[in-house]
């Protein structure tokens, strides 16, 4: 504990709450309250209804939720495969090669996602790489955006992995592929799991690149929230936002419940 006096501790809590409540908690609370209201003209909302939710979980909205879930799942799996592979490969490179690869995979983080969206749009709009107008262009953009995070978290985990495991396995006669499959990947599983959660959450909330790319039959939930609020249907938008938030949290919770044997180390 950094602060020892009782008074100091109380003031630390007070500062924390003073910052946390208005910045983080209140906006979320407002959305939650708004999603149950029909009218908000005074200081407090009025007219309780669950009608927004009835709409939010059927028809086009449900379609949007499924689209978001599928996109996030696909992007996470692809990003984990590409980013994880690259991180493992980078580890066996010399330091210069590793730095180049590190920088390369940082690019999508450094470049604004609007730019990534535009780049993907331009790149895949002409034959033979004509993906514009299909769901794949959305998935590709999301994959590009989240791979950086997969690369980084797996890379950090690979660096922490004790080389003694790999060497013990090799001395027992295991070829590198066997070592990777039976020793390294299982030991990296907790980090891969965490990376998957991060990628999933990022993809679920992605809007700026998506909005430039989505075809009419592949409309993710953030886009429908945006269009709802754009139309002025704030309360419908709020209900959709709560659904998005809740679903993402549920998936993350589920992922964190997957305990691997290696977690017990």
């Amino acid at each position: 504990m950094l602060v020892h006096s009782r008074k100091g501790r109380w003031s630390a809590w007070a500062i924390f709450l003073a910052l946390f409540l208005p910045l983080f908690a209140l906006p979320l609370l407002v959305i939650a309250v708004a999603s149950f209201s029909t009218n908000w003209s005074g200081a407090f909302p009025s007219g309780f209804t669950s009608g927004h939710y009835e709409k939010a979980i059927r028809g086009a909205s449900l379609q949007a939720l499924t689209t978001s879930l599928l996109t996030a799942a696909a992007a996470s799996v692809l990003a984990l495969a590409a980013g994880g592979w690259a991180a493992l490969a980078a580890h066996s490179l010399r330091s210069r090669g590793r730095r180049v690869l590190d920088a390369l995979f940082m690019l999508p983080v450094a470049v604004p996602s609007v730019v990534v969206g535009l780049a993907v749009l331009v790149a895949f709009s002409k034959p033979p790489m004509l993906l514009n107008g299909t769901r794949w262009i959305v998935i590709i953009a999301h994959t590009i955006l989240v791979t950086a995070f997969a690369y980084q978290s797996v890379s950090a985990a690979v660096k922490r992995l004790d080389p003694a495991y790999e060497q013990a396995a090799a001395s027992l006669g295991a070829r590198p592929a066997y070592v990777l499959w039976k020793v390294k990947l299982p030991l990296l599983l907790p980090s891969l799991n965490a990376a998957a959660g991060l990628c999933f959450a990022l993809s679920m909330g992605e809007l700026s690149a998506t909005i430039m790319l989505y075809p009419p039959d592949w409309l993710p939930l953030p886009v429908s929230i945006y269009t709802a609020t754009d139309r002025g249907s704030l309360f419908t938008g709020s209900a959709l936002a709560v659904v998005l938030m809740g679903t993402t949290l549920l998936v993350l919770l589920g992922l964190s419940r997957i305990r691997t044997k290696a977690t017990y180390r």
Binding site: Q167, L172, P186, L187, K261
Partner: protein, 364 residues
């Protein structure tokens, strides 16, 4: 001991016994030489201890056999097979390291079966060989546990079982007991000795900085310092007749006295001393073990003032200054120990006083 010419003798028909041979093996990281042209032979079935302080190159030598470091020059043989360029997984060595490196996500039996499965041993054989390896290390009751549920000593046994399960020609042990407490270590030493009696064909290269482990377990000890092999011989040879000052002080405690040499005897401060060893030349270094030095009159008596006194329960360590040099005697607990500054006489037998060879020529 002279260099054995029949290195890695052809194994008798039907056995797979093979030793290890280093031929001028050097390893360097950048400009730092960590192993300097090592020539050493481990005979089939022999336990060779690589003994030295940290940074002496002993672990590098072991890792060169396992294939985790590539020699800048020289060759490494396992039996008659030149393994210098082979990847680790093709070498067929068992290895046990200080931190065990048991796979935490596998049960004990799966850890032990790992090498067999990796080498695609026939399915029907695996169970029996795993059980046998666990029996030999006394871990059969723990087959279904995870490594985290075992104590350090038990984990080390599993690591040894895992290495033995692949029935390696040679077993490499890298400071296998340093992570254990003193009591466990003594038990494991006895256990390793018993294992080797059970597997007489297995050659063992045992890296340690602990002279007790080396003296207890090894058939021969290779003493290393500053990337070089300094001395090699049986524990008795190294202890009784060390070839270099480094060996004398590193393998057991030693009094090292500068003496003048003349007429086949040494002299210190004008006192003639009957000694064994190399009595040529005009001066030399005399090595006497503290526990072989007695208090009171006797042959080779030297007189001096007491400069140090330590009570060690069953014994006293008395340090005496003789002509500016210190002689330590380790004697059975004294009823009336001398005080600091008292004049006492110490003595030792001629056969316990070993004059180091000139120039400290290397053996082995």
């Amino acid at each position: 001991m002279s260099a054995p010419a029949m290195t890695a003798a052809a194994p008798a028909a039907g056995t797979r016994a093979s030793g290890i041979r280093f031929e001028g093996v050097s390893v360097a990281y950048g400009d730092t030489v960590v192993l300097d042209s090592l020539d050493l032979t481990v005979e089939p079935g022999e336990v060779m201890a690589l003994l030295g302080p940290s940074g002496s190159g002993k672990t590098t030598a072991l890792r060169a056999v396992a294939g985790f470091v590539t020699p800048a020059s020289g060759r490494v043989f396992i039996g008659d097979r030149d393994v210098t360029g082979l990847p680790p997984y093709k070498r067929g060595v068992g290895m046990v390291v200080q931190q065990y490196a048991l796979f935490p996500h596998m049960k004990v039996e799966d850890n032990v079966a790992f090498g067999l499965k990796a080498q695609k041993a026939p399915r029907g054989e695996i169970g029996g060989r795993v059980a046998e390896a666990l029996r030999m290390t006394g871990m059969d009751a723990y087959a279904g546990r995870y490594p985290r549920e075992l104590s350090g000593g038990q984990q080390q046994r599993v690591a040894i079982a895992r290495a033995l399960a692949i029935q390696p020609d040679v077993l490499l042990l890298d400071e296998p007991l340093s992570a254990l407490d003193a009591q466990l270590r003594a038990g494991m030493l006895a256990e390793l000795a018993r294992l080797h009696r059970e597997l007489p064909d297995l050659s063992i290269l045992y890296v340690t900085h602990d002279q007790v482990e080396a003296l207890t377990l090894a058939d021969r000890i290779a003493v290393m310092d500053k990337a070089r092999l300094r001395d090699c011989g049986t524990p008795q040879e190294l202890y009784r007749r060390p070839a270099t000052e480094f060996t004398a002080s590193f393998v057991g405690n030693a009094n090292l006295l500068r003496v003048a040499v003349a007429d086949g005897a040494a002299s210190l401060d004008g006192t003639r001393l009957e000694v064994s060893g190399d009595v040529t030349g005009t001066e030399g270094t005399l090595c006497v073990r503290p526990h072989l030095v007695g208090l009171g009159d006797g042959p080779n008596a030297l007189r001096g003032a007491v400069t140090g006194l330590q009570w060690r329960g069953s014994s006293h360590r008395v340090t005496v200054a003789v002509a500016g040099q210190e002689v330590t005697a380790e004697v059975r607990e004294l009823r009336t120990p001398p005080g600091l500054g008292d004049e006492v006489t110490v003595h030792f037998a001629a056969e316990d006083a070993h004059l180091l060879p000139q120039g400290g020529a290397l053996r082995g």
